[in-house]
Amino acid sequence: MLMFLQQVLNGFTLGGIYGLVALGLTLVYGILHVPNFAHGALYMVGAFVAFHAMNAWGTGYWVAMMVAAGVVALLAVTSERLVFSRLRNASGIHPMIAAVGIMLFLEASAQAIWGADFQRMPTPYAGVVELTDGISMSAQRLLIVAAALMLMVAMHWFLTRTLTGSTIIVMAQNRDGASLIGVDANRVAMMTFAISGVLAAIASVLYAPVNLVYPAMGYLVITKAFVIIILGGMGSVPGAIIGGQIIGFAESLGAYYVSTDYKDIVAFALLVLILSVRPQGLFPGRGR
């Protein structure tokens, strides 16, 4: 039972990280209707920038996170301006291929700058917190759960309660309609990319001390984030958050009860299983 509770806590951690990444991905999909394969690379760049800031410039953890968020947001907006905005009228697979091109470029560049080695990111929260008798959790994991929860609530509030936030929702629902009521499509697209970049960077800097930093680190996270937004409905914000938790739990319980070797397969197996039965996903329609 204790072990089970421990796995549940781990699931919350994973779910928080996956949820943040999936949230950015789903927002961009809502605006652009392109699966942004480069999103995982942005996640990876976030971790490396923070790592670099802490190592080379000696900044603290939180400052490094802000630097990473800024750099990644800038990269995301640049990719939108230079590539995606120009491909808005291109049909079919071309925008997807361009996204892959950005991803390949970012991964190779990170490898050229920082090397292919696995790096360990230091954290000021290395201690372990005793929650109750026998159940403990590292302070970093606790931080992840709290930060992810806060960010998700903040995002939900931003998207539903503020005017700027609702322009994103409006444009995702109907681009032409949004233009008609005076929404500046370019501005909203850039803002959405910036937000998705910030979320990816924060997620990666939160998770990096638990995991490791390396050029291919974004790959697994992004594929799982894709699984999540397919399950939760492409473009759906609550779907991304709930889907993140589902995959987080499935993976952490799968690692414990099935096999750690195959823990990464759990998410994909779940996807294959669900889509075999329900090709339209778990929560179809534009649930928002």
């Binding site: 697979i93 091109g101 190779a108 397919i230």
Partner: protein, 324 residues
């Protein structure tokens, strides 16, 4: 212009050049590069069938190639099969597995299909890496025997291996031309342009897409089998998604939705990579932007742009004839 067009005569000159290449090749290394490029050209021809013609971006293509390679590797190393018996089994294994994957994945529309195949590719990679009793895990399969002699023809020399891959490439091109010029090929293109319209004129959406997918992974399986016999060593990296991206680049550079494009792309890009040694490791730093620029400015690739250019030229010439 005719040279790179999809006309049958256009293949004569490149074919002749490929036949004579071993005579002018400076060393064995060049032959190896070329033969490897041919093998990837075969796989890319398959990728182009589902992606360029039927309009579905399959991101698990390299994994199906790996399935073919491992089929040959496991059968010949662990079970003592002949290469020539194992090779067709490699194609069929890929096709059968692909049929099942297609059955689920092709029910999904566009983007979902690509994401789904990305996940499938990763599952295949993990299974190959972790299922040690079958695949030898991360160690990989070593000492895969070279193809056995057929009568007086021996395949232990590099030149013979080169001609073997060339023969398979020629067969692959011939088959692909037959497919895309048939009614079936037109059905693929119709589906790419509009699934609804295609259905309205009586094309069975699911059956046709499934056929395109199965055929395309059959190409991948055969290419993988050939690769195993040529490289004599395979590891789980054969299923890496980066290889799919490589093939995607070959396809886009050469010309998506053309027969000659993937061949030109595979050969050209392989030589580009080899001639710029620093590119080996960081090739995607250059290829990534190339991919983006091509998608933005030359979406039809080299061969596609040439054909469009030729059509325009013919059109203009026709008009000036009419005017004079």
């Amino acid at each position: 212009m005719r040279l790179l067009s999809d006309g049958a005569r256009g293949w004569l000159l490149p074919g002749l050049a490929a036949l004579l290449f071993p005579l002018v090749a400076a060393n064995d290394y060049h032959l190896t590069v070329m033969a490897t490029a041919f093998i990837f050209a075969i796989a890319t021809l398959g990728l182009n069938l589902i992606t360029g013609y039927a309009g579905q971006l399959n991101l698990a293509h390299a994994s199906f190639m790996a399935i073919g390679a491992y089929t040959v590797g496991i059968l010949s190393v662990d079970h003592g099969w002949w290469f020539w018996c194992a090779l067709p089994v490699a194609g069929v294994t890929s096709a059968v597995l692909g049929w099942f994957v297609g059955l689920v994945s092709l029910r999904l529309q566009g983007h979902f299909f690509s994401i789904f195949t990305l996940c499938v590719g990763y599952i295949i990679f993990l299974v190959i890496e972790k299922w040690e009793s079958l695949t030898h895990g991360t160690v990989g399969l070593m000492g895969i025997p070279a193809p056995e002699s057929i009568g007086p023809i021996h395949f232990d020399g590099l030149a013979a291996q080169y001609y073997l891959t060339l023969a398979f490439l020629a067969a692959a091109i011939w088959a692909k031309r037959r497919i895309v010029n048939s009614l079936l090929g037109r059905a693929f293109i119709a589906l790419r342009n509009s699934e609804e319209l295609a259905e309205a004129i009586g094309i069975q959406r699911m059956r046709t897409k499934l056929l395109a997918f199965t055929l395309s992974v059959f190409y991948a399986g055969m290419a993988g089998g050939l690769y195993a016999g040529f490289a004599r060593f395979i590891s789980p990296d054969a299923a890496s998604v980066n290889l799919t991206f490589d093939m995607m680049i070959y396809m886009i550079v050469g010309g998506i939705g053309t027969v000659a494009g993937p061949v030109l792309g595979a050969v050209g890009m392989s030589w580009l990579t080899q001639s710029l040694q620093f590119l080996q490791e960081y090739r995607f730093m250059v290829f990534g932007p190339i991919l983006i620029l091509l998608v933005l400015h030359v979406p039809q690739g080299l061969v596609g742009s040439l054909s469009v250019g030729r059509l325009r030229w013919q059109f203009r010439r026709g008009r000036s004839h009419a005017e004079s």
